[in-house]
């Protein structure tokens, strides 16, 4: 993490906080705020008017709290007209907008600003002022007064009218009613006491308090209060969850009963009480369930009125911060689905914010790359770096160059420019794209990236029409589409030779552990059929990919499976110190030609090693061997490594067990994430040079040092799969499913990705599974449709509002049939001079993707605590900048969030309390390294659900409903003990069964007669012929189908010891490892913001 780089930027935020000494926001792309909103809202507009327009406010105040106002002020009454894309009269948009208008009841409210938004039935209640601004505003009068409190921001996307605030805020929240009763006084204590007990040092909290509380006394007393909560937090941690993110087996430990929760909390109140009498109810906050207003709090916080009421600053009897009143991810997702899921997203217009990743939508490529390929943190970039620095909103694009598309969308066209190769700008080498400007009657074109004027080669010449467009523009994908492919010429190939078809090499650990668990037998059996499904190009009859086999323990066994042999031949290489490939001919073969020999081999491997006693393994030589084999065969390819144990045999890359939990929360914690030796990086580098991608399947039953072993997969664009304590009976389905998908998925090999930008910005940083030998080229030995590269941009010049900013991502790769191709993605972004425009066009999911990756990389170099602080500070600065520059003036006690970022606090909190950044006692070092590694190449949808799991109630919706039930928020208080829930985060899948669920339901799902007879930890539901069973199993299947990795089901019973495991994923609650609850964190965030503002 780039710490200490620069000075805290914005003067208005004033003083760098002593608390976060090392951290400076500058490391994030700074952005200056602007308040000109408009365009992006269009999308929201139609569907969910409730969120956006608060015409009255907008009109009344020039910079209304919401981004929308300026535009909306003028147009609010007529709804969509205000929004850029619709307003422009785009043919396609036109109808859709009208449709929306008609459809959506929400449109009505627009007319009358005062009217509560109608389309969020559950959410909206007649809150005083109809606030539609994009901001979430929360007034925390209590904070103002006591200095501690910020009531949580309202949950729904609606802007909370800042000044009048309370009412408006409530209006925007889904559960505004609750919101109204929300005790402002309550929040602050929570945030201080419990919000980040584990994380924050007393120093940090001290200053923040100082501001919030009465200045003199606060500093001193604070400290104890902080430590107080810490202890309980830790005590919880002990017994808690084992492997939160990827649990393979239930944790053995028993959980303390619910009482513990109260136990630790107990001590808190007294500690606070001297300072802040009203804080005791914190407990409530941490527990999640909303309780009634708590009288205790009332008195200390005069300024905490109900949010519902318009009188913001008025002290009201304090109430507990109502979780329902703060922005709800569920609601936002739901709204976006409703509003934007129905119409195709047409990419013709520059700077459009696409629908959320959680929304199902179709994309029509009209000149910009589909959001499936590229998503940005913001679609409107500040024109100057000063603005960017001010805003602190990172400018990043999350690029998934080979993303798979739904069948309705066409995959990119392949363009062949013949022998001369793809047409490019002579100076910056950008590829021909729709943004290139043809001039001089078509004889030349001006590069849209560097402005260089190039001659059009004669064979490419075409006349221009009256608008200056080439007449063939729509016949040529490269002139009309955002994404397309070029056939590469030999100049684009390694050694100026067209590549051979790639190869897959299966490298199987046959040491004692692998044999004992049945893994080898299972794998060999599976491979026999799986090999028929190697990826193939388009309509090819058979895959061009050749296969090879290696087994190993502390020596390597290569197999000659040449078709002419009657039996496979095994060749043992024991010289692991100096690895080489013992054979060329017969090692990599066509599956169909050598089928008999391969089958015979796969039959024999389990037998041959059945009696092995060899427990030691090597690792680096194995990859080296695969890489050398590819080198010898002069092709790129992928290694599938199936590995069980820490490689302790004498060989290069030998590792020792260095797992040391004592390092956690020390400055040395980062070493746990770093590889043990440099051998792995060196090897990875060689692999990349050869186009050798490594996929690693781990089957450890103890520490294997994932941090080190995953270096090569990580740097070669490969994947790591981990099956702790693998047992065939329990894990076979998950493993086989992952294996099948991994083997079958389409891969590009030997790839180089280059992101070009128009003048003014520059790609400066890259995150993901790849290797870089210079500062611009992302080298990927392999790249599949799941792998994502996050790119951060910085200004190096001023941008022009008119011309906007362009990105071109060019990926040169070898297809799985061995064809060399270039895939080009283009994306045009808007540029703004008003910070509000920036805030109005942000995508929080993408932002979180970037911030998580940034943080997860940061732990390699900085103490975890510093990384977390960095995140918090940046988030606070982003929000403070908004508050300062874009929101309408309002009392400091209000928390005002930009509409687009109202989920930033909750999501960021999830990142902060993730296993990597805040490990619980049961999280192993390997798990942390594994997750860290996984997140690095996740796309936006994956990070979204990973950090904020989906919780689906099973019996609420009608049984005949075929759609997924609406999710509920990930908090224990949302669970009804009469219901069952599925929880998934992309890696884990739980079925939580409430204790008082109906017997009939239990019977029809589990085929047992009562709750008590349900086997805890069950991983397979019985196949029963009844609607409920079918539906639940169908739902599970469909959830699994949506994820790139198979999620093993774990059935958790309420009050069962396994429930601890499950609760770890209820991310809105306080976690046992000390992670703050949503409410607490929001309060804390508010405090930070206020501090910055004061």
């Amino acid at each position: 993490m780039n710490v200490n780089q620069s000075v805290p930027p914005v003067p208005s935020f004033g003083q760098p906080q002593p608390v976060y000494p090392g951290y400076h926001q500058s490391s994030y792309g700074g952005q200056s705020g602007s308040t000109a909103p408009t365009i992006p809202y269009g999308a929201y507009n139609g569907p969910v008017p409730g969120y956006q327009q608060t015409p009255p406010q907008g009109m009344s105040r020039a910079p209304p709290s919401s981004g929308a106002p300026p535009a909306s002020t003028a147009q609010a009454p007529c709804g969509q007209a205000a929004y850029g894309q619709f307003g422009q009269g785009d043919v396609q948009n036109g109808p859709s907008s009208t449709v929306q208008m008609q459809r959506l009841p929400g449109s009505q409210p627009f007319g009358s600003p005062l009217a509560p938004v109608g389309n969020q039935p559950a959410v909206l209640q007649p809150y005083g002022p109809p606030l539609t601004s994009a901001q979430v505003t929360a007034q925390l009068s209590g904070m103002q007064i006591s200095g501690a409190v910020a009531p949580a921001p309202p949950s729904s996307g609606l802007g909370y009218g800042p000044p009048t605030s309370l009412a408006s805020a409530s209006g925007s929240f889904p559960n505004s009613g609750l919101y109204g009763s929300y005790p402002q006084g309550q929040a602050p204590p929570l945030s201080q006491a419990q919000g980040h007990p584990g994380i924050q040092t007393s120093q940090r909290s001290a200053p923040s308090q100082a501001s919030g509380f009465t200045p003199p006394a606060s500093g001193g007393p604070r400290l104890p209060s902080m430590t107080g909560p810490l202890l309980p937090g830790q005590s919880f941690g002990g017994p808690s969850v084992s492997q939160p993110n990827h649990v393979s087996s239930p944790p053995p430990q028993t959980l303390p009963p619910g009482t513990q929760m109260t136990g630790p909390l107990g001590p808190l109140p007294p500690m606070h009480s001297p300072q802040q009498p009203g804080y005791q109810p914190q407990q409530n906050g941490s527990f999640g369930p909303a309780r009634g207003p708590q009288p205790n709090y009332g008195s200390p916080y005069p300024a905490a009125p109900t949010f519902g009421s318009q009188s913001g600053p008025q002290p009201l009897p304090p109430k507990r911060l109502d979780p329902d009143a703060i922005p709800s991810p569920i609601q936002v997702i739901e709204d976006d689905r409703n509003n934007r899921g129905t119409e195709p997203f047409v990419t013709g217009v520059r700077g459009q914010v696409p629908p959320l990743v959680t929304t199902n939508f179709l994309v029509k490529d009209q000149g910009n790359a589909s959001p499936r390929y590229i998503r940005c943190t913001s679609y409107n970039i500040p024109c100057t770096s000063d603005m960017a620095k001010q805003a602190q909103v990172p400018l990043a694009a999350v690029i998934k160059p080979l993303a798979s598309l739904p069948p309705e969308e066409a995959s990119p066209y392949v363009v062949d420019h013949g022998e001369s190769g793809p047409l490019r700008c002579n100076r910056c080498k950008a590829y021909m794209c729709p943004f290139m400007q043809f001039i001089e009657g078509g004889r030349r074109f001006q590069c849209c990236f560097c402005s260089c004027i190039n001659d059009v080669p004669p064979q490419y010449f075409q006349h221009l029409d009256h608008t200056g467009k080439r007449v063939d523009a729509y016949d040529r994908p490269e002139l009309s589409l955002g994404s397309y492919e070029f056939l590469a010429t030999v100049d684009y190939c390694k050694n100026n030779k067209f590549p051979s078809p790639p190869a897959f090499i299966f490298m199987i650990d046959v040491s004692y552990n692998a044999i004992r668990t049945g893994l080898v037998r299972l794998l060999c059996e599976e491979l026999k059929s799986l090999l028929d499904f190697l990826p193939r190009e388009g309509g090819a009859e058979e895959s061009a990919i050749r296969v090879g086999f290696v087994t190993y323990n502390k020596v390597l066994h290569f197999y000659n499976v040449k078709s002419s042999l009657a039996q496979p031949q095994m060749m043992v290489v024991s010289d692991v110190a100096d690895m080489f490939v013992p054979l060329l001919d017969g090692f990599l073969v066509n599956i169909n030609e050598s089928r008999a020999v391969i089958t015979s081999l796969l039959d024999q491997i389990p037998e041959m090693f059945a009696d092995t006693r060899e427990t030691e393994t090597v690792f680096v030589p194995v990859i080296q061997a695969g890489m050398e084999a590819l080198k010898a065969a002069e092709c790129a390819g992928k290694l599938f490594l199936f590995h069980t144990s820490l490689p302790i045999a004498e060989a290069p890359g030998k590792l020792k067990n260095r797992d040391d939990r004592k390092l956690i929360n020390t400055d040395k914690e980062k070493t746990l994430f770093q590889p043990q030796t440099g051998a792995y990086q060196t090897l990875a580098k060689e692999c990349v040079a050869q186009g050798c991608c490594v996929d690693l399947f781990l089957f450890p039953n103890q520490y294997v040092d994932v941090a080190t072993l995953s270096v090569v997969p990580q740097l070669t664009g490969g994947s790591v799969y981990k099956y702790a304590c693998f047992q065939v009976e329990n894990d076979q389905e998950r493993f086989l499913s992952d294996l099948r998908r991994d083997v079958q998925k389409v891969v590009g090999f030997d790839a180089v990705m280059r992101v070009r930008t128009s003048t003014g910005i520059r790609a400066v940083d890259f995150f993901g599974a790849f290797y870089m030998s210079n500062t611009t080229d992302v080298e990927l030995a392999g790249l599949d449709g799941d792998k994502t590269v996050t790119v951060e941009f910085k200004h190096d010049d001023r941008l022009n509002e008119e011309s906007g900013a362009l990105l071109q991502c060019a990926l040169l790769y070898t297809s799985c049939a061995g064809q060399r191709r270039l895939r080009i993605h283009n994306l045009a972004l808007n540029c703004c001079t008003q910070l509000a425009d920036l805030y109005r066009n942000c995508e929080t999911d993408t932002l979180i993707n970037y911030m998580a990756k940034f943080a997860y990389r940061g732990v390699l170099n900085s103490p975890v605590k510093a990384v977390r602080d960095t995140l918090i500070t940046q988030c606070a600065q982003i929000l403070a900048c908004y508050r300062k520059n874009c929101a309408s003036p309002s009392s400091a006690g209000q928390l005002i969030l930009p509409e687009c970022m109202k989920l930033l606090p909750v999501y960021l909190n999830c990142v902060l309390k993730s296993d990597v950044l805040q490990p619980g006692a049961e999280i192993t070092t390997d798990d942390r390294a594994y997750v860290r590694q996984l997140v690095t190449s996740m796309d936006v949808a994956e990070t979204n659900v990973f950090f904020y799991p989906r919780l689906l109630p099973l019996t609420k919706s009608p049984i005949e409903s075929t759609t997924e039930p609406p999710a509920v928020r990930a908090s224990e208080e949302r669970l009804s003990n009469g219901d069952m829930y599925l929880l998934e985060n992309g890696l884990n899948l739980f079925l939580w069964v409430g204790a008082s669920v109906q017997q009939g339901v239990v019977q029809s799902l589990f085929s047992v007669s009562s709750f008590s007879q349900i086997t805890s930890g069950l991983s397979v539901l019985p196949v029963l012929d009844n609607p409920l069973s079918k539906k639940v199993r169908g739902l599970i299947d469909s959830l699994r189908a949506q994820r790139s990795r198979y999620m093993k089901l774990i059935v958790v019973k309420q009050e069962d010891k396994l429930e601890m495991l499950f609760k770890h994923f209820l991310v809105e609650d306080k976690s046992l490892s000390g992670g703050a609850s949503y409410v607490d964190f929001l309060c804390h965030m508010h405090k930070e913001i206020r501090q910055l503002l004061s």
């Binding site: 020596v555 066994h557 042999l565 031949q569 095994m570 060749m571 290489v573 054979l583 015979s600 006693r613």
Partner: protein, 738 residues
């Protein structure tokens, strides 16, 4: 006693020994004046169908520095049950088992006819013979096929309980595991990496045997004492497997681009073979059989690079010091050879290629370990096939004609010391009272190791008379020498063969005639030739020739009868008369002349010369030309043959004439190992050059004046004819100048 000739022959047949002098000059000074050293050719395992081994162990002299074996020359006191060692005169008690000994009840070793006797030792575990095939796969397809067939065939010739192993090599080296079912398994090594024995054994898993072995060992140590490796398995268990394995053997699959030699890792392959046996079966009879079809081109021991445009070193390159790989390669193979010898194993080299294969560098492997060296054009020739087959021939007892891990221990009576040995042996560096300080051949020791030997393996052993001139030997005194050869018989028994000989001493002054008459000019010629060849390995060719010439002239001066400065008066007695002629041919032989021979060929010829018995050696020095004819002009025979007369019934006699030499040739071919190159040619035929290079160049372009004698065509050579040679010799011999 009959003639010396008969005596010599009888001794050779009985003891396998031929001395240059059969009466020994009694003083050091005189001995040196005899020019030809006192030496003998010893054939340690000479076949003696009439000599069944005795089933007990030899009785040794108790003096620790002597340990001579009880023999017929010892004086025995039957009453006191004592015997006196005839070498050190130590008096020894007979062992208890000899309690019944008496004049009439003598053990065999005391009987004069048992001057050579063989003991069989019952002690110790018997280890099976081991054959480790090291096979080059960088061969042409048909060559490889032929080789594979030969190897498969050989499996049927091996004793069933012999252990066999297979290593193949090309760019990589593969050690094949023979015990596995279903899937053939091999260990592969990089062909470029020099591995230590320890590394090899580690990598083959020999240092820590597989678990089942560890378990089995304590349980049945007796039954499976040698089961510790999967790479060497009893033939009878795996012959099917191995036959299949050989059948599936592919040519080295690594591509060889135009203008390149295949990468051939002979050096590493041999190193691994040596290391494998070293780790598993030290001091057990084992043959490493290297089959190679070209020069090593990579790794340690490489002889030539893989660029075809750079040819393999020639004698010219070597003289100019241009053979850049030679020294390093030689060093590598010498190191291997010495290790192999130390382990008691031997290395055979079967090199079949049209070009050189690096025998020059690898020769020590065969030379020092007693292995065979066979050179041919192709594995697909009868020369190779039959030669290879002949290795597995059996003797009258049905035993293989091969023995392993022999040590030759020589004891001499005190007037003699051992100067050295020349043959397929290495020194064991055993110093002792009977070791001379002057070395001839491999000296400085009284014991040598001969790792592989057969009934014809013959060593030249050189002695020095150390008796001073002023310490006369009593009249009738005899000098004695005992050869004790301890070896592993092909039946895997340990055996000891003891040969004890004695010869009379004679005073040169008074008994020169005796000594002269007892000169064995054939043995002397071969022994001198061995010395010459031995020198030629380290010295410049011309120097060796000059040395040989000087020796010859000195001999003629010493033993010739002539008048000073009168060449025509020069005469040699019968016992010396052929000697100059042998020397003439020796000078022209490929053993000393490298012209017209590649370094490999020279190494090959010298290798064989240094191990053949006397008869074969002599033939090799002086070829025998047999003639066949009708009584007519012979030059027409070729024309007749071409015309096909031999196929016509009416010319059956002509057919017989043609057949006769063929039959004789076959007979000769069958008697020799390795099988000689057999060339059937005719006058003016292209192959006739092989013949012409061997015969006496009595007519050359240098003496064309002699043309017209119509006895044959001139031979185009710079060599002098025998006649010229003899003339010069006489002149020099009678000259008082030298």
């Amino acid at each position: 006693m009959a003639t010396y000739l008969e005596f010599i022959q009888q001794n050779e047949e009985r003891d396998g020994v031929r001395f240059s002098w059969n009466v020994w000059p009694s003083s050091r000074l005189e001995a040196t004046r005899m020019v030809v050293p006192l030496a003998c050719l010893l054939t340690p395992l000479k076949e003696r169908p009439d000599l069944p081994p005795v089933q007990y162990e030899p009785v040794l002299c108790s003096r620790p520095t002597c340990k001579a074996v009880l023999n017929p020359l010892c004086q025995v006191d039957y009453r006191a049950k004592l015997w006196a060692c005839n070498f050190c005169f130590q008096r020894n008690q007979f062992p208890p088992a000899y309690g019944g000994i008496s004049e009439v009840n003598q053990p065999a070793e005391l009987m004069p006819q048992f001057s050579t006797i063989e003991y069989m030792i019952q002690r110790g575990a018997q280890s099976p013979l081991i054959f480790l095939y090291v096979v080059d796969t960088c061969l042409e397809e048909d060559d490889l096929q032929a080789l594979k067939e030969s190897l498969q065939m050989s499996l049927s010739l091996l004793p069933p309980d012999a252990l066999v192993g297979l290593i193949t090599f090309g760019r990589m080296v593969q050690v094949h595991e023979l015990s596995c079912e279903g899937i053939s398994k091999s260990y592969v090594f990089r062909g470029t990496k020099d591995l230590t024995a320890k590394q090899i054994q580690d990598m083959l898993g020999l240092t820590k045997p597989a678990m089942p072995m560890q378990q089995a060992r304590p349980v049945q140590p007796q039954e499976h004492p040698f089961a510790s490796t999967r790479f060497l398995q009893p033939v009878h268990k795996i012959d099917m497997n191995l036959t299949d394995l050989l059948g599936e053997l592919q040519r080295d699959p690594w591509p060889v681009t135009q203008g390149k030699r295949p990468l051939r890792s002979t050096g590493v392959a041999l190193s691994i073979a040596v290391g494998l046996l070293e780790g598993t079966f030290p001091n057990t009879g084992a043959r490493i059989m290297l089959f190679t079809g070209g020069p090593p081109t990579q790794g340690p021991g490489m002889v030539v690079g893989d660029e075809l445009k750079i040819p393999i070193r020639s004698w010219h390159d070597i003289e100019k010091d241009n053979a850049r790989f030679m020294k390093k390669a030689t060093k590598h193979y010498e190191m291997l050879a010495n290790r192999t010898a130390a382990n008691g194993h031997c290395i055979d080299i079967y090199a079949c290629a049209l070009d050189q294969t690096g025998l020059l560098e690898m020769k020590c492997c065969a030379n020092l370990t007693g292995g065979y060296m066979v050179m041919g054009d192709s594995f697909n020739t009868s020369l190779f096939k039959q030669t290879f087959q002949r290795i597995f021939t059996k003797d009258f007892n049905g035993d293989f004609r091969m023995a392993f891990g022999a040590t030759l221990d020589i004891k001499t009576s005190r007037e003699l010391k051992i100067a050295g040995a020349i043959g397929p042996c290495v020194s064991l560096n055993v110093k002792g009272p009977c070791v001379s300080e002057n070395e001839l051949g491999v000296g400085g020791t009284s014991q040598w190791k001969i790792c592989g030997l057969d009934p014809t393996s013959t060593l030249g052993i050189y002695f020095e008379v150390v008796n001073q001139h002023n310490a006369p030997i009593p009249q009738g005194g005899r000098g004695a020498i005992q050869f004790v050869t301890h070896y592993q018989h092909s039946s895997t028994q340990r055996r000891i063969r003891v040969t004890t000989i004695a010869r009379n001493w004679a005073d040169v002054q008074s008994q020169l005639r005796h000594i002269e008459a007892a000169f064995d000019q054939e043995a002397a010629a071969v022994l001198m030739a061995r010395l010459g060849v031995f020198r030629a390995e380290s010295e410049e060719g011309p120097d060796v020739l000059r040395w040989l010439d000087r020796q010859l002239i000195r001999l003629c001066q010493k033993f010739g009868q002539y008048n000073k400065e009168d060449p025509t008066s020069f005469r040699l007695s019968d016992s010396f008369s052929l000697y100059p002629q042998f020397m003439f041919h020796l000078r022209r032989s490929p053993f000393l002349q490298v012209f017209n021979n590649s370094p490999d060929e020279s190494s090959y010829y010298r290798h064989h010369f240094a191990r053949q018995d006397l008869t074969q050696s002599l033939i090799m020095i002086q070829p025998i030309l047999y003639s066949y004819s009708f009584h007519g002009p012979p030059e027409t025979i070729a024309q007749w043959r071409k015309a096909g007369y031999q196929d016509m019934p009416e010319y059956e006699n002509f057919k017989h004439l043609l057949q006769a030499p063929l039959d004789d040739a076959q007979e000769i071919l069958q008697a020799r190992f390795p099988m000689p190159r057999y060339i059937n040619t005719e006058h003016g035929g292209s192959q006739a050059r092989f013949l012409l290079s061997k015969v006496n160049p009595s007519q050359t372009h240098n003496n064309l004046y002699a043309w017209g004698q119509e006895t044959g065509a001139p031979i185009l050579t710079d060599d002098v004819s025998l006649q010229v040679f003899m003339d010069h010799l006489k002149k020099l011999a009678v000259s008082s100048a030298c």
